[in-house]
């Protein structure tokens, strides 16, 4: 009964990696998934991964959507963001611009999810490159406090804090789900403000 597709559906936590290009979203994801550091990973596509993990003794699945590139249409980006239950908002501590960009991502996510308390971690990656640091811990922590989210520094290269960010986020998602009993493994997001999405729904014309 413990193996195979026939077993009772486990809970799926849906995580989305956001952040500027080159900050290490894919590197973090691959490190978490396969325990390896990939030097150059093709930056174009949005990839998704599924993995069984044990979260505080409970077997769950994590679904990671590793976004990529700059989408040409805000509507597309919104559709990605809508599918997530929690967000790892990544910047590189070696790149000031990527830190600035996190503001935009935060704003876009809040607009789509319309929930200030959406599970969310601010992640400063590439902490192994201390000598190239451009973003101070103080600045990052200040922003995290302002958003009322945790700040964690990671290294996809050394694997420092990699598991931590994913598991912390999943815990936060789990808490959220328990608070709003809408999660039954259904694929649809029902905890979002429906009002904003009326326009979008029109776009699927089922005849």
């Amino acid at each position: 009964m413990s193996k195979g597709k026939t077993q009772a559906p486990t809970v799926i936590h849906k995580v989305i990696m956001v952040g500027s290009g080159g900050v290490g979203k894919s590197a973090l994801t691959l490190q978490f998934m396969y325990d390896e550091f990939v030097e150059d990973y093709e930056p174009t596509k949005a990839d998704s991964y599924r993995k069984k993990v044990v979260l505080d003794g409970e077997e769950v699945q994590i679904d990671i959507l590793d976004t990529a590139g700059q989408e040409d249409y805000a509507a597309i980006r919104d559709n990605y963001f809508r599918s997530g239950e929690g967000f790892l908002c990544v910047f590189s501590i070696t790149e000031q611009d990527s830190f600035q960009a996190t503001n935009d991502f935060r704003e876009q996510i809040l607009r789509v999810k319309s929930d200030e308390n959406i599970p969310f971690l601010l992640v400063g990656n590439k902490m192994d490159l201390e000598e190239k640091r451009q973003v101070s811990i103080e600045d990052a922590t200040a922003r995290a406090q302002q958003w009322n989210v945790p700040y964690v520094e990671t290294s996809a290269k050394t694997r420092a804090n990699v598991d931590k960010v994913f598991f912390d986020l999943m815990r936060s998602i789990r808490v959220k789900k328990q608070a709003t009993p809408s999660s039954g493994g259904g694929k649809k997001q029902s905890n979002t403000g429906g009002g904003k999405d009326k326009r979008k729904k029109k776009k699927c014309i089922i005849l």
Partner: protein, 673 residues
């Protein structure tokens, strides 16, 4: 003769004054009379050819109508194709110049016309100008969380959207798929399922609130899908930005044009875009798409069509730029919906009452015509009528009474036909292409009628008299619909010909058998009516049939010269002739007269043989009297009946006189020895 000559002749003749002119008038009048007479004679002389020609003309007319119908169809297909290829080019966007359609570009254009044949319900998708197919393939949809199979799909990637179609469970013809939904690429989020545990070759589409997961057959197929999706989205995005920039440039242009008006006239192109955006700016025009939605929802079809017409009129005055094309596409989408709704009005469905009658359909038809969909309207209207006719006919209960059933059948069918015709003329005035469609329709309905008719009348061994009555009944109705200009009699006769001819043949053969049988047992004993009352009754009976001179063949108080055989023959022969004449049509001329002649000849031959064989030496007077009765009393009756119906003499019976002479001669020689 050359007109000049006439003038000269008239001038010359008119010089003689009034008298001369009156003479001339008289001459001309006589000439006209003679010509008319000659024509009449010729008609009679060539009667059968005349009939033949009339028939040919009628069927030619029918064929012409059918041809015209087919041509209209072809034309609309051609138009649709031209339309598609034109819009296909225009929709490509700014990178294409207006005039230069480079060689080979046509090959790369993939139009959507073929989709209509493959995908049920996709006409709304294909009608958007500039849309074309980029990629397509089979995909298996799986549930995005449990990975269980959902359904088999076929996906079509268009240049601006992704169309998902399901497989039709029962495939009919070339249509394989049914449209499920259409996702616009503007908001389509695609996700590569890189590692999903056991699931291979999968990708996801996020389209709030849907998360859908698909499985391609091979890694290569999946890669293709992702690459092409990505590329197409990029292309579309690039195109959109270009357009936006062009529009922004146009606005900037205008601003500069306003500030230094005389310095530099705006280019033709930018002037057009300015004009365009201004023309499109009218409030009512901006609200038209939404207003249309409302009107359609409220079933205010007239209002909706009014709005469409007003919009089209307005847009016709605008330059055909990108903005107008896009606006038009929005309107077209509504027109499409409106058309669908109107078509549904005409659709016959079990849940809708069928007895609405054609007047109910007129409202929808009128609006469809205004939308320029007259041929679709015509099609649906007629289909609707077909369904109503079928329904009404099915309602007829078969009561085992064939002639009653046929009477009702004719009434229902031809009343409906008439009603449809009248309604059709009202609904489609001046639509001649549609009218030919109507003629074609009547032909096919007639076929249905005849099939129903035949299955009732000919299938079981129906009495010949009843068959004749039924055929005559139907023919009367056929003649009646000529009041709306429909020629149905020829069609009916043509469709019935083989059955009717077979029946005539069979009835004739049957009677021949009877003749033989009766004659073999005939002893040439005249009928004795025993008393005068019965004698009178017999005479009356014969007179009723039309044999007014029957008195010549009776004598005494209760005697007649006629034998039982002759009396029986007379009754059945006259009845057969009457029946045959009831269903007579000119094509059966030979068949009918041959039957008339053959049967009575056989009966007369019996008399001839009986005399010449000297088997009945004492009965020769009786034999002769009976022969005379046949030739001089019965045959003329049948001939006059024939002439009354057909207008022609029945010369086929003339030869009986000769046989009678021969019998007389034989009788006199017999009595001499």
């Amino acid at each position: 003769m050359i007109p000049l000559d006439i003038v000269a002749v008239v001038r010359k003749r008119s010089q003689g004054g009034e008298e001369e002119l009156q003479k001339l008038q008289h001459e001309v009048g006589q000439l006209a009379e003679n010509t008319a007479l000659a024509l009449k004679k010729n008609v009679y002389k060539n009667y059968s050819q005349f009939i033949e020609t009339a028939k040919e003309i009628s069927s030619l007319q029918g064929e012409m109508y059918q041809l015209s119908h087919m041509l209209t169809d072809q034309k609309s297909i051609m138009n649709a194709m031209i339309e598609m290829s034109i819009t296909g080019h225009n929709g490509e966007g700014p990178e294409e110049t207006d005039e230069g359609v480079g060689p080979g570009e046509d090959d790369t254009q993939k139009h959507l016309a073929f989709l209509l044949e493959k995908v049920e319900g996709c006409s709304g998708v294909t009608e958007v100008p500039g849309r074309h197919l980029v990629h397509d393939g089979d995909l298996l949809e799986i549930e995005s969380e449990s990975f269980t199979t959902v359904q088999k799909l076929h996906a079509f990637l268009l240049n601006d959207s992704l169309m998902l179609t399901t497989w039709l469970p029962h495939r009919r013809g070339p249509v394989k798929y049914r449209l499920q939904c259409l996702y616009e690429l503007d908001s389509l989020a695609v996700v590569n399922a890189r590692d999903m545990g056991g699931v291979k070759n999968a990708f996801k589409i996020l389209m709030f609130p849907d998360t859908r997961m698909f499985q391609a057959e091979t890694p290569k197929a999946k890669g293709q899908w992702l690459d092409i999706l990505e590329e197409t989205k990029k292309k579309k995005a690039a195109l959109d930005t270009q357009r936006k920039e062009a529009a922004a440039a146009a606005v900037a242009d205008r601003k500069s044009a306003v500030s230094n008006a005389d310095v530099e006239p705006p280019t033709e192109r930018s002037r057009n875009s300015i004009l365009e955006s201004e023309l499109l700016h009218a409030d009512w025009l901006q609200e038209a798409p939404e207003d249309l939605d409302v009107a359609i929802a409220q079933r205010d079809f007239e209002g909706a069509v009014d709005l469409v017409e007003r919009g089209n009129e307005h847009l016709d005055g605008c330059p055909k730029g990108q903005a107008v094309r896009e606006y038009r596409a929005r309107i077209e989408l509504r027109i499409k919906q409106l058309t669908e709704v109107l078509k549904q009005e005409l659709q016959v469905s079990p849940e809708r009452s069928i007895r609405g009658g054609p007047r109910c359909a007129r409202r929808a038809v009128t609006q469809l015509i205004r939308l320029g969909k007259s041929s679709q309207a015509c099609d649906l209207f007629l289909k609707n009528r077909t369904a109503i006719i079928r329904y009404n006919i099915r309602q007829l209960k078969i009561e085992g009474n064939t002639s009653l059933y046929v009477k009702r059948l004719c009434l229902v069918f031809f009343d409906n036909l008439l009603e449809t015709g009248k309604e059709f003329m009202k609904a489609f005035p001046q639509h001649f292409g549609c009218f030919s469609g109507f003629v074609v329709w009547t032909k096919s309905e007639m076929l249905y009628f005849v099939t129903t008719f035949a299955s009732q009348v000919f299938a079981n061994k129906t009495n010949f008299t009843i068959v004749a009555e039924c055929v005559a009944e139907a023919r009367t109705h056929c003649n009646k619909v000529s009041e709306i200009g429909l020629e149905m009699t020829f069609t009916f006769d043509r469709l019935m010909a083989s059955d009717v001819e077979r029946l005539i043949q069979e009835a004739g053969d049957f009677q021949m058998e009877a003749v033989k049988h009766r004659c073999s047992e005939d002893q040439w004993r005249p009928v004795n009516h025993l008393n005068h009352m019965l004698q009178v009754k017999f005479e009356d009976e014969m007179k009723d049939i039309g044999l007014t001179t029957i008195g010549d063949f009776t004598y005494g108080v209760c005697f007649t010269w006629l034998t039982q055989n002759s009396v029986q023959f007379t009754k059945s022969y006259v009845s057969l002739c009457v029946d045959m004449l009831k269903m007579y049509n000119p094509n059966q001329h030979h068949l009918v007269t041959a039957a008339f002649s053959e049967i009575i000849s056989a009966q007369l031959r019996h008399a001839d043989r009986s005399i010449s064989s000297h088997k009945f030496p004492d009965q020769e007077t009786v034999i002769l009297k009976n022969a005379e009765f046949l030739v001089q009393c019965l045959a003329p009756l049948v001939q006059s009946k024939y002439q009354a119906v057909t207008g022609q003499p029945c010369s086929a019976l003339d030869h009986l006189q000769a046989t009678l002479k021969k019998i007389r001669r034989a009788a006199s020689t017999a009595s001499q020895c």
